[in-house]
């Protein structure tokens, strides 16, 4: 009877869900991340927030009981750098995880190459004053398309939250923290609209050096430097003008600079050790708090001390360097690549040991099984499971300054939970339920594997 009522209730859709009372997940193992594991306990959520968590918290009378026997509750996973929700931004796998042999320019895996020719055939940029490939004022929150099917896919892997960035261009715009609820109003998804400016140095492969400015890595760096000099000057002039406009020439409105000034931190690409060194110094020169993303060579012994010295947190890509499939037997990989492949997955363990703050990002991997395998690689290379979980929950929340409201299972925080059968990141673990902002979702059925697993669980899907 209960099951029938539950099915009816849930099938009736959203409004009902909203006006529903509390939900209590009982008798589950709970991994709060911010505190010790509770081997058998209860999490109570109401109105999108966690009301209580503990071994035996008092159950509210209107609580809908969910039997958590044999399951584990984790904080919902956070993808620290994503393009989920951005229009037309299929994740670019491009040269992710490879290369870096002969001083190639960085190609951070999540970035989009800037379009070389626009439909209106604009003249090529000839200098920083043309503000090439710059849309620093863009906020991901304003561009979200709720119809992005990846929202569902990624949620099925246990992610309740993505830090979604626009990634086109040099100054792509600011990222926003999104909770992956299904809603008509994309504003419902936004947890924090402006968490950092995405900067990338991706060149369009094959673009001529005589093309648009900038066309070389040093050109990109000079451009970014000039933008910050301009921003500093712009602010000076704007403030002076605001204080007393009389007699001063009006400063021209420059939305590129406005966007840069509005960003409280920047993201810089860094895969090779040389790039880590370079970007840390660059961020210090620009006097901007920075997060480095990529970290393909983060395992090298010099990397962690450098990061500690500058106090910069990093986002580690889960797209580990892999040996090419079907390679030419006569064409041997370089030692550099071999080492990346061999030691890449040990990066998180090494960073953890050195006390460097880091979080994972999926870097275009959205299939649950691939994600599980990627994290498992890091576990096999020495990362403790609880540290892996933290790198996908509380650490990204801390890095983005929202750990006061998400990233762990604590009373008062947003009710983002993932409930699994089995321990997270084990091969046979299944995600049973996902709660985003307190709304329950069921993971989409996975395509038939060897052994074929189909629908699971009791409650039918709630999504539109």
């Amino acid at each position: 009877m209960r099951k029938l009522v539950a099915a009816l209730v849930v099938c009736c859709g959203f409004a009902l869900a909203d006006s529903m009372g509390a939900i209590a997940i009982r008798n589950a193992k709970i991994v709060p991340v911010s505190g010790p594991v509770i081997s058998k306990g209860t999490v109570i959520i109401r109105n999108g927030l966690i009301e209580a968590v503990g071994e035996n918290p008092p159950l509210p009378p209107d609580a809908w009981i969910v039997d958590g026997e044999g399951m584990t509750v984790y904080p919902g996973l956070i993808d620290a750098l994503s393009t989920v929700g951005m229009p037309g931004a299929a994740p670019v796998a491009a040269t992710a995880g490879r290369g870096g042999g002969r001083g190639q320019t960085t190609t951070p895996p999540v970035a989009q190459p800037a379009p070389v020719t626009t439909t209106t055939a604009a003249p090529p940029a000839r200098g920083p004053e043309d503000r090439p490939n710059t849309s620093s004022w863009v906020l991901a929150a304003d561009e979200i398309q709720a119809t992005d099917r990846r929202i569902e896919t990624v949620r099925g892997a246990g992610f309740t939250t993505t830090v979604t960035y626009p990634t086109r261009g040099i100054f792509a715009g600011q990222g926003s923290i999104l909770d992956l609820v299904t809603s008509d109003r994309t504003g419902d998804m936004v947890v924090a609209p402006a968490v950092g400016q995405y900067i990338s140095f991706t060149r369009t492969p094959g673009a001529s050096i005589f093309g648009s400015f900038p066309s070389s890595l040093m050109g990109y760096i000079a451009y970014v430097r000039q933008i910050y000099l301009d921003a500093e000057h712009y602010k000076l002039v704007k403030d002076a003008y605001a204080r007393n406009p009389r007699g001063i020439e009006r400063p021209a409105y420059d939305r590129a600079l406005e966007g840069v000034l509005a960003s409280k931190r920047i993201l810089l690409p860094a895969n090779r050790l040389v790039e880590v060194d370079r970007m840390l110094r660059f961020a210090a020169e620009l006097k901007q708090p920075a997060i480095l993303y990529g970290m393909r060579e983060g395992y090298r012994p010099e990397a962690a001390p450098l990061l500690k010295k500058y106090g910069a947190p990093v986002l580690v890509s889960l797209k580990w360097s892999e040996a090419p499939r079907d390679p030419d037997p006569e064409a041997v990989e370089t030692m550099r690549n071999l080492q990346n492949i061999d030691q890449g997955p040990s990066t998180p363990a090494l960073l953890q040991k050195a006390g460097v703050t880091f979080a994972f990002y999926t870097d275009g991997i959205d299939q649950p099984r691939e994600l599980q395998r990627a994290v498992k690689k890091a576990l096999d290379a020495g990362l403790a499971r609880e540290d892996a979980i933290r790198a996908l929950t509380l650490s990204p929340a801390e890095i983005y300054g929202v750990s006061d409201r998400m990233g762990s299972i604590e009373a008062g925080k947003i009710a983002n939970l993932v409930v699994t059968k089995g321990e997270l990141f084990d091969a046979n673990t299944r995600v049973e339920m996902i709660f985003v902002d307190g709304k329950q979702y069921k993971p989409a059925p996975e395509p038939p594997q060897s052994g074929g697993r189909g629908q699971v669980g009791e409650t039918p899907e709630v999504n539109r």
Partner: protein, 442 residues
């Protein structure tokens, strides 16, 4: 009787007055194929070496070149150049290599040689008396968008001095030049600077092995088909079948099919070398391997089949990032130790004069000096089938010689005289003329 001797004397004087008869007196002669002889003389008659020895004297009226304290070596032969075929590599109109077409055995480099190219003057003053002028394939092998070329034409062996290409020709058709298909990209990945590769849009991997293998097999099949067509033509021609029509392309293949003309095949990596040898066996042709970058374990195979190598620049970067820095420097000594015959080529016009110094670089890294000298004199002569006429200082051979102040492989050595077919070459060229002119600027 007296009249007769006067007449004979006059005749001899007339002969002696001709410019390809002379005596080089008192020099240290390095024949290359024999031990050196100190303080001897060489008699050159009608452009040929007539006699060498301590007692050789000049017939009456014959010009004498005093060479005490100097050395005489055979003229140097460069086994791969664009001399006469390309003037300024950056200006397309001056470049006559890189023709279109997939199978072009009928193209003849010889008749495109510009005997007045400034490059000849520059090359021969350093003792380079002969060279292979070869029809290089389309630049970059398909970069320009044209289909790749398999057979580029017939290379020529020429002297570096002469009034016309006919005058210069030693062997107008000395080898067929062929590009063999390779799996993947082949060698020298480590030498193209990134910014050049970037400018040309050359980035990225070559594709999966399966794809590369498929392309390779297609190309090989195409090449084999062409050879088969050529053989059918050969048969039809021999049989004198009615309605037989001459085909210039297949005609050009006949000497190679008959084993009379060697086929020069470019192959950089061990697998390509091995594949080329296999192809040669199947097709029953004589081959020369051009421009290997790594020998791997093909040494034994090359030696067994008597296949010689034309080595490219010794002073070249290693193939990949991890290869030892002296990979190219030690390739010649590696070939030598494997018992494989090789000669050097410069491949670029502007550096032909530096051929002896490329050879010297190999000596620095282990090649015996005599072998380096052989690789630019007698070895190429043997490889190109002219060892009976040139490549060393022996009576009967053509007088292609240089007279130097010392070891020609050493940079500081001055070349005092150069002879091509016994005629002295003026040691002046475009560059010496500009030097003189601007030295005199007040």
């Amino acid at each position: 009787m007296r009249l007769l001797s006067v007449l004979i004397g006059c005749a001899l004087s007339a002969a002696a007055a001709s410019n390809d008869t002379l005596l080089i007196r008192g020099a240290d002669v390095y024949p290359v194929t024999a031990a050196e002889q100190k303080g001897v003389s060489i008699l050159i008659q009608d452009g040929k070496i007539a006699a060498i020895g301590p007692k050789v004297a000049a017939p009456k009226g014959v010009r004498v070149v005093e060479a005490k304290g100097l050395r005489v070596y055979p003229g140097i032969m460069d086994s791969a150049t664009q001399l006469g075929l390309s003037e300024i590599s950056g200006v397309r109109e001056t470049v006559d290599t890189g023709e279109l077409g997939e199978f072009m055995p009928q193209l003849r480099a010889i008749a495109s040689v510009n005997s007045d190219s400034e490059h000849f003057g520059v090359a021969r003053v350093n003792g380079v008396t002969s060279a292979i002028a070869y029809p290089a394939g389309a630049a970059g092998g398909g970069r320009s968008g044209a289909p790749r070329q398999y057979i580029s034409g017939q290379a020529a062996l020429i002297h570096t001095a002469g009034w016309t290409w006919e005058d210069m020709a030693i062997r107008p058709s000395v080898a067929l030049w062929m590009r063999f298909p390779t799996v993947g990209r082949g060698g020298r990945g480590g030498a193209v600077p990134d910014y050049i590769a970037e400018m040309l849009g050359e980035t990225g991997a070559a594709g999966t092995y399966t794809e590369m293998l498929r392309t390779y097999r297609e190309e090989l099949s195409k090449l084999s088909d062409f050879f088969e067509q050529a053989r059918r033509y050969q048969k039809a021609r021999a049989a004198g079948a009615p309605g037989f029509v001459r085909d210039l392309k297949y005609e050009a293949m006949l000497p190679a099919l008959e084993g009379k003309l060697p086929v020069v095949i470019s192959a950089e990596m061990p697998r390509a070398i091995h594949d080329a040898i296999e192809f040669a066996e199947k097709q029953n042709i004589k081959i020369v391997i051009l421009g290997p970058v790594e020998l791997g374990n093909t040494g034994a195979e090359l030696k067994k089949n008597n296949i010689p190598l034309i080595l490219g620049k010794v002073l070249a970067l290693p193939n990949t990032e991890d290869d030892p820095y002296d990979q190219a420097f030690t390739l010649p000594v590696e070939a030598y130790k494997a018992g494989v015959k090789f000669a050097f080529g410069t491949f670029e016009n502007q550096f032909v004069r530096n051929l002896p110094y490329e050879a010297a670089a190999a000596v620095a890294f282990g090649l015996p000096q005599e072998e380096a000298l052989k690789a630019i004199t007698i070895n190429p002569a043997e490889i190109w089938g002219v060892a009976g006429e040139m490549g060393s200082i022996e009576p009967g051979k053509v007088a292609d010689l240089m007279v130097t102040t010392g070891d020609p492989l050493e940079i500081q050595t001055e070349v005092k005289h150069v002879y091509v077919r016994g005629r002295e070459i003026e040691l002046a060229n475009k560059q010496t003329r500009l030097y003189e002119r601007y030295s005199n600027r007040q």
